[in-house]
Amino acid sequence: MYFSMNSTTSLLSVLILTSTEEKSAIIIDTPDDSFVQMIKKTGGPNIQNCYQCGTCSGSCPAGARTNYLVRGIIRKALLGLKEQCISSPELWYCTTCYTCTDRCPQDVMPTDVIKAIRNVAVAEGYMLVPHQKTALKVLEAGHAVPLDSENWQNLREKVGLERVPPNASRYPEAIEEIRKIAKKTGFDKLIEEKEEKEE
């Protein structure tokens, strides 16, 4: 997209960029609240408390450096704009620091709302490849950060510890239990489906 920036058109360019001429507005007569109900059920029960003050975004260290806008995502969700919410890459810029949650005057618990929207996104196939790989590690090794090389065992020995700690790294039956859980919840399928899509 290119706009010539001479003095007569610069103001106009700004207007175009921020107006519906460039991208048509989504007209909402009656918001579809099925997405809100889904979020409430998935861990964001207080989303409807939001009165859009923006304290969340004003407090957000991710929002200070990216286009991640907690307030915007919550408003979109309240308007039922599910696809816009779950497909946006910035949904994954939240570090879950909970500063917004601790400052929200309406007890919206925005961090939990974002996590709930992420749950819906993953259920509908929006999962980043590095995240899928991390999830797979837990199913393979019992740990997101596994003891996956001799070097790490040497490091343990160097600090006076046994080479393999008494966690799932030592007990294969523990990893088997994790796999059974993932199979029961269908989590293993969520990861598989993504793999097929990538191919």
């Binding site: 709930a116 950060v145 510890l161 239990e177």
Partner: protein, 306 residues
């Protein structure tokens, strides 16, 4: 009275990347006369911002499986990781207050012949030290006060937030972590961005390491503006990884060079309890391994035998 004991939840990063923290924690709890019991077969907590963002019920079920290991033995859990603490504490709390979640989790756990009962508590090391052991008892063990060492703090997020639910400390004006660190005799150095996130959490480091490092860099610059410090202390190994290894990564991504020694609170206490750095392997932090250098012993006021 029987000796107080905790199940020791290791998680992933402490035992697999920063084992010096595990070693230091064992020294410190032993000195304090508190038992640490192995949690055989405990898995990933699983990472709250990662698994919690993917599927809440799977997250809660894997966390509950870890809790059942401690429930079987009847001792509370302690952990030295903000993330592990968040998963275990939050899952424990949520299942005690949300019958629907608890039922879903127990239906899943039945597959592996386990059941969440809700019979134990979860404590972060910071919590265990402050409310279960007490500052007075810690002070009795300080045999090498770190006088003159200028100490910046990075409390991190998940042991005290969300504050209304955790009810541990005021996350806007926290004092507990500082109180513990100050028992070491080191001098607290405030800086503007002390309370912002290290940048690693919420699956951000996994997805976009450069973005995560921008948070870290902001913290470092804020600390330098405040006059710098000799050490940065944190209660979390993921924050430690981000602040320690992050310096090597920042150099790569931003061509900015920082040299901070980053210590877990257990490493700080082990030193001030009189243990030598090589007893728990302070020099094995990944920053030093990558840069092929050592902690700044002079700034730490410690002579290393290496």
């Amino acid at each position: 009275m029987a000796k107080k004991s905790f199940y020791h939840f290791l998680g992933c990063i402490i035992p697999h990347r920063y084992p010096s923290i595990e070693s230091a924690a064992k020294l410190v709890f032993k000195d304090l006369g508190v038992g640490l019991l192995d949690m055989e077969g405990a898995s990933c907590c699983p990472a709250p911002g990662v698994f919690g963002s993917f599927d809440r019920v799977t997250w809660a079920t894997i966390a509950a499986r870890n809790l059942t290991i401690a429930e079987a033995g009847g001792h509370p859990i302690t952990t030295g990781c903000n993330g592990c603490f968040a998963s275990l504490w939050d899952a424990n709390h949520e299942m005690k207050h949300d019958d629907e979640l608890r039922d879903a989790v127990n239906e899943n756990l039945a597959e592996i012949d386990r059941e969440f009962k809700g019979s134990i508590e979860v404590w972060h090391y910071v919590d265990a030290l402050y409310s279960q052991i007490g500052l007075e008892k810690i002070r009795e063990h300080i045999t090498r006060p770190l006088k003159g060492v200028r100490m910046a703090l990075h409390p991190g997020c998940h042991w005290m937030r969300p504050k209304q639910i955790k009810k541990k400390d005021d996350s806007e004006r926290p004092h507990i972590f500082r109180d513990i660190c100050e028992t070491s005799g080191a001098e607290y150095v405030p800086y503007k961005d002390e309370l912002i996130c290290c940048g690693a959490g919420g699956a951000v480091r996994t997805a976009d390491v450069k973005l995560a490092l921008e948070f870290t860099k902001q913290k470092f610059d804020s600390l330098l503006e405040a006059g710098g410090a000799d050490i940065i202390v944190t209660p979390c190994p993921f924050c430690e990884l981000q602040l320690d290894m992050g310096q090597v990564e920042i150099q790569k991504h931003f061509e900015a060079e920082y040299h901070f020694d980053v210590l877990h609170v257990m490493e700080l206490l082990a030193l001030s309890f009189g243990h030598e750095p090589e007893e728990f392997g302070l020099a094995t932090h990944l920053q030093y391994m990558q840069r092929k250098n050592q902690p700044n012993w002079e700034r730490l006021g410690i002579e290393a035998k290496t």
